[in-house]
């Protein structure tokens, strides 16, 4: 480092032990830092930063009506991020969750679209299951490419996400377009049995939030208590050690991607069977990408992810609020998301390193 930095710049020195307190305060510090930076940006754009701050970060929590919307958005983010975090810990970078989410929505929609007359309480659960399988199937393409063809999973999963978006367009403009939908790119509205039951009366929060919480618990048990989860983590932390111990790398990649795809597919299914009630172009507002940030911000830990999912959901709702009340473009949410992750990555560096001011006399020899 010091070759570049002038002697007066501090250097990062590795700590003897990772610092747990820093790990715990890193997310709030990152949030504060990102908030400050973005409020500065809004000021430059000629918006009232106080009004934006109020609309974006406070209002989502101030009324039950908007907080219930936050909970509604939490469910998909929580699901996808829990699945992704398992892969990230194994250093399998599935960044195409957006595509697996879309495939989940498409697979789930097949039931009400092909059987619009069907009735019975079996419909919505089967949609969730089929959606999850659809997501896992889409992710399995990436797993095959990575394990059998040695291709980089980051690039393959992302390319397949872009293909999935086109596949959705194709279905909505072609075979699955609602014939009575005034040519809008959307499917027919689903029958009521195809809808996930409402969890909290008077809101749109549905049972998928419970499913997401249950799967979060399952993720915690899997990663902290099971041997399979342990093997995945060793593979991520020390690939060579995992190899010597006989842990199969290919299996770890398959497992990571299938879990990630399953969770994202489930989230996609819950979205069409929940607040939307039909397949549309805007089924995902970047949940698959936002969930990557949620996973990192939560420290790749199931409990941390629960908090960061809630925060990211609040940012979505708050961004909508600020668009209406403070005339803030909706793209500001993406800027906030990106800077939040960057701020977190800076903050988290201090878990393993501390800053030391060295004077030229000491620094120049090392």
């Amino acid at each position: 480092m010091s070759a570049l930095s002038a002697p007066l710049l501090p250097v990062l020195v590795r700590r003897e032990h990772a610092s747990l307190p820093v790990k715990l305060i890193a997310p709030p510090v990152a949030l504060a830092l990102a908030t400050l930076l973005n409020l500065g940006l809004y000021l430059l754009m000629g918006r009232d930063p106080v009004a934006v701050f109020h609309a974006m970060l406070l209002e989502p929590f101030l009324s039950w009506a908007s907080f219930s919307e936050v909970l509604l958005k939490t469910a998909p983010l929580l699901l996808i991020a829990q699945g992704l975090a398992i892969g990230f810990r194994a250093k399998v970078f599935n960044i195409g969750a957006e595509g697996q989410f879309i495939l989940g929505a498409i697979f789930a929609s097949a039931i009400p679209i092909w059987f619009p007359e069907a009735t019975g309480q079996w419909i919505w659960p089967s949609m969730l299951v089929i959606g999850a399988l659809g997501g896992a199937l889409w992710a399995s393409l990436t797993a095959f490419w990575r394990v059998k063809l040695n291709a980089n999973e980051i690039l393959v999963s992302l390319m397949l996400a872009l293909v999935a978006a086109q596949l959705l367009n194709y279905l909505l403009l072609g075979p699955w377009k609602d014939p009575n939908g005034f040519n809008f790119p959307q499917s027919v509205m689903f029958q009521s049995d195809a809808m996930v039951p409402i969890l909290i009366p008077g809101t749109r929060v549905n049972v998928s939030l419970l499913v997401a919480c249950a799967l979060s618990l399952a993720a915690w048990i899997f990663m902290q208590r099971s041997f399979a989860g342990f093997k995945l983590q060793v593979g991520g932390l020390a690939p060579r050690a995992a190899g010597y111990a006989g842990f199969n790398e290919g299996r770890a990649i398959w497992l990571s991607l299938l879990i990630g795809g399953f969770a994202a597919g489930l989230a996609g299914a819950a979205e069409v069977a929940g607040p939307l009630g039909q397949l549309q172009r805007s089924i995902s507002t970047g949940y698959g990408y936002a969930a990557i940030i949620v996973a990192y911000l939560g420290g790749l830990h199931p409990v941390g992810i629960a908090f960061s999912a809630l925060l990211m959901a609040a940012l979505y709702i708050g961004g909508d609020n600020a668009m209406v009340s403070a005339n803030l473009p909706v793209a500001a949410v993406r800027v906030f998301q990106g800077s939040l992750l960057l701020a977190y990555l800076v903050a988290i560096a201090f878990v393993r390193y501390r800053l030391e001011w060295r004077h030229a006399a000491h620094g120049s020899t090392s």
Partner: protein
């Protein structure tokens, strides 16, 4: 003009955004840095260039500002990934999201507006050859990109600078022991890559399709990263790969224009599908990747 002539004439222009961004990523990766933020860097360059050209600043200023803006954003990447030794994958993704967000934010009031592109400069004589003549009538940026390809190839093949960059990427500890400033070389490589990504975005928004639409980069930054793998970290093969993608995107246009009965969504996803397939073919040759790959790619450097 038939479809073949159309593809031959337009291939280089269509290839240029891929080529410039991939060459930039090549230099960064050769120095051992995996910057996955190319899509966002291109988007930022694209919007900056568009705004300046639309406001009457001219193409030269537009390109310069785009290069500077994207280089600045890539330096944010460098500070966090190299200075703070954060996970390069995560930082790259964050820079990508941030760059795309900023481009949507800045470009909001320019949506669907258009500007004038650049005139074609023909090589006298050559551009009159039937069928392939169109190849020799290109705008100035295409010609400069070809020159940049040769220059970067020559830099790695013949110059000490190229050797130092490669040493830093292959074995940073040894490079450091020889007295080379590893982190400074990596910062410079990342900034250079950022500037080229900015030029690539600028070319897309003010020359190739001179109009602004949010999300117009449409995955080209990611394909550029894949191109570095396709080209097995060699400028010459990256050029061939970029031409392939230029031809593929034009073939989609030509097919749509001739009214071929293929869904437009399939044609739009053709570049992505080709990427996945070629990536599978090239990567399955593990020896080839090992031989040409960069040994310390993506790993933080710590003395």
């Amino acid at each position: 003009m038939n479809a073949v002539e159309f593809i031959i004439a337009g291939m280089l222009a269509a290839a240029t955004p891929f080529l410039l961004a991939a060459l930039g990523e090549l230099v960064a990766e050769r120095a051992g840095v995996l910057n996955l933020g190319v899509e966002g860097l291109m988007a930022l360059g694209a919007v900056i260039a568009f705004i300046i050209v639309y406001q009457g600043g001219g193409h030269l200023l537009g390109f310069l500002a785009a290069g500077l803006a994207s280089a600045a954003l890539s330096l944010v990447f460098a500070v966090i990934a190299l200075g703070f030794r954060a996970n390069q994958v995560a930082v790259g993704l964050a820079i990508g999201i941030l760059g795309q967000g900023l481009s949507a934010l800045f470009g909001k009031s320019y949506e669907s507006l258009t500007v004038k592109g650049l005139p074609k400069l023909s090589l006298p004589g050559l551009s009159d050859i039937p069928v392939i003549g169109g190849l020799f009538a290109q705008d100035v940026v295409v010609w400069l990109s070809l020159a940049a390809t040769v220059a970067i190839w020559a830099m790695f093949a013949y110059t000490k600078t190229g050797l130092v960059v490669r040493a830093v990427g292959e074995n940073p500890k040894a490079a450091r022991a020889l007295g080379y400033p590893v982190i400074a070389v990596r910062f410079a490589a990342v900034a250079f890559g950022g500037a080229l990504a900015g030029f690539a975005g600028a070319y897309a928004s003010v020359v190739y399709t001179p109009l602004w639409a949010d999300g117009m980069i449409a995955g080209r930054g990611w394909i550029a990263i894949a191109l570095v793998v396709f080209g097995t970290w060699l400028a010459s093969r990256i050029f061939l790969g970029a031409c392939l993608f230029g031809a593929v995107s034009l073939a989609s246009l030509a097919a749509q224009a001739t009214g071929l009965d293929v869904s437009s969504q399939l044609l739009s996803s053709l570049p992505y599908l080709v990427t996945v397939i070629v990536l599978g073919i090239i990567s399955s040759n593990r020896r080839l990747l090992k031989l040409n790959g960069v040994a310390s790619l993506g790993e933080p450097f710590e003395r």
